[in-house]
Symmetry: C2
Subunit: 283 residues, 2 copies
């Protein structure tokens, strides 16, 4: 048994056992490693940071997709930025009323390797006729997209270091605002409040988004394999409020079976602890 | 820099750095170790498992105490089972209307060492005139307590192995039911849904409590230094419901400053994810 170890902070480490190091390569953008163990199944890391594993990917992918889909049942055009493992697309494509899903993933190798090693997230995504794949930088993609062309943008990115950095900038959020229509929603990977370095990124991202979108919330979920297990998404929108406007009864009528998300949790996940709220309001 | 490492499962480890191993002893009941590091401050372990650290003890202690106190503003007599570090008593004693707090902690050494090394949780607890300390087994204590003698029982225990085992038994929960008055509430350390071994204990505890108490809920919180960071308390009561009966406006009037708990989170914390709900309903 070998161990993959991630530094959650200078004084905190998290380790997962694996039997096989399935693949390792340096792509044009980052170091990619796929591993396979018993408990966590197949998992991969980018630049040494845990991205997706078979044990708890359902948590992240439920939470990045369903709260927005429940808030606006009329979502038809969805843009995914990043999300190369395919899990976010997989969840979006479960909605029969979704017509077009564009995925702008900078690193095609992440997607191809996920197709090979992680069918749980990638299987069937490319084959869905509603899907368009662009292997290019997400920031470049939104810059070139027309005004008001999407109902929903899901930013499924790495942390704001190296390849993911541009997806945590004011310029990027402004372009997202522009390409969203009047009921548009932006969901973004929003880091974590517990370890100082992540909390800094969380605060910065929130402040930038608040300066651009009229409605901004942050919601939380339990993601045990991400640093501290306390992870956040940002919910920013032009007009819809995820608590007041969500059509939860409609969401239940879809009859989607979800392992993490449910309509009570929808409301509950926006209730943040005091120290998190304080970090988000002080700037 | 040395590392304290805890096995969260056979294939998952969590490590915290420390500079000093402040104290190590085998008491009559368990192995006790106090450490001191930069980020997590002073922390201690029992039989090698993380109990309390200065960085996030506020989360656990907020969540074991405040939801019950908000549900019934008339709580005057409180029994704490375990809780040797003093943090649970500290939070209970912040309520001016609480008249008596009994703490039944089996291992006096945990309390004495916390007084020495962890003033953040233990300072002032013994000196409070409303406080009575019994260094004896919690199960024995409740067996000898009169009927209807407490408004609230807080079970601040270790996992159901070794010394904490008796506090996860039907016999214990039955005695708790008996000594609680008609509006009585039982809060118990309820383990975690993510790793199989902890999930087993969570399910068993919940089933036992459901068989005894008419009202039972489970609520969750983000506790990064406990296995998976996804931790639960059980809320069992004879008549009060933590969602329908909580007097949250009254709780806000107390003006208590809390770093984790707040009235929105009170409601939100009872919204469990689907896989947790499923584990709790299937037996």
């Amino acid at each position: 048994m070998k161990w993959y170890t991630e530094e959650w902070s200078k004084e905190c480490k998290f380790s997962i056992a694996y039997d096989e190091h399935l693949h390792s390569e340096k792509s044009d953008f980052q170091q990619i490693d796929f591993y396979k163990g018993e408990e966590f199944g197949t998992f991969f890391t980018l630049d040494g940071l845990m991205m997706v594993n078979e044990k708890d990917e359902f948590i992240y992918h439920d939470m990045i997709v369903h709260p927005a889909m429940a808030t606006n049942p009329a979502i038809k055009n969805v843009l995914i930025i990043g999300g190369g493992d395919g899990g976010t697309a997989r969840e979006v494509l479960r909605y029969g009323h979704v017509e077009n899903v564009v995925m702008a993933e900078i690193d095609e190798r992440v997607f191809r390797l996920s197709q090979e090693y992680l069918p749980i997230t990638a299987l069937g995504v490319e084959e869905d006729p509603r899907m368009t794949l662009h292997f290019e930088d997400g920031l470049a993609y939104v810059k070139n997209a027309p005004d008001h062309s999407f109902d929903l943008i899901l930013v499924d990115s790495t942390d704001p270091i190296s390849v993911g950095e541009g997806l945590f900038t004011t310029a990027f959020y402004q372009e997202c605002f522009r390409v969203l229509n009047d009921k548009g929603i932006l969901i973004n990977q929003h880091e974590s409040p517990y370890f100082a370095e992540y909390a800094e990124n969380m605060k910065k991202a929130h402040q930038k988004i608040k300066d651009i979108f009229p409605i901004t919330h942050v919601y939380q979920y339990h993601m045990p394999t991400y640093p501290s297990g306390h992870w956040l998404f940002g919910f920013a929108s032009k007009s819809l409020d995820p608590l007041q406007d969500a059509d939860l009864a409609q969401w239940e009528r879809y009859g989607l079976k979800t392992k993490y998300y449910n309509v009570d949790l929808h409301k509950g996940s926006f209730a943040l602890s005091s120290y998190v709220k304080e970090q988000l309001t002080h700037e």
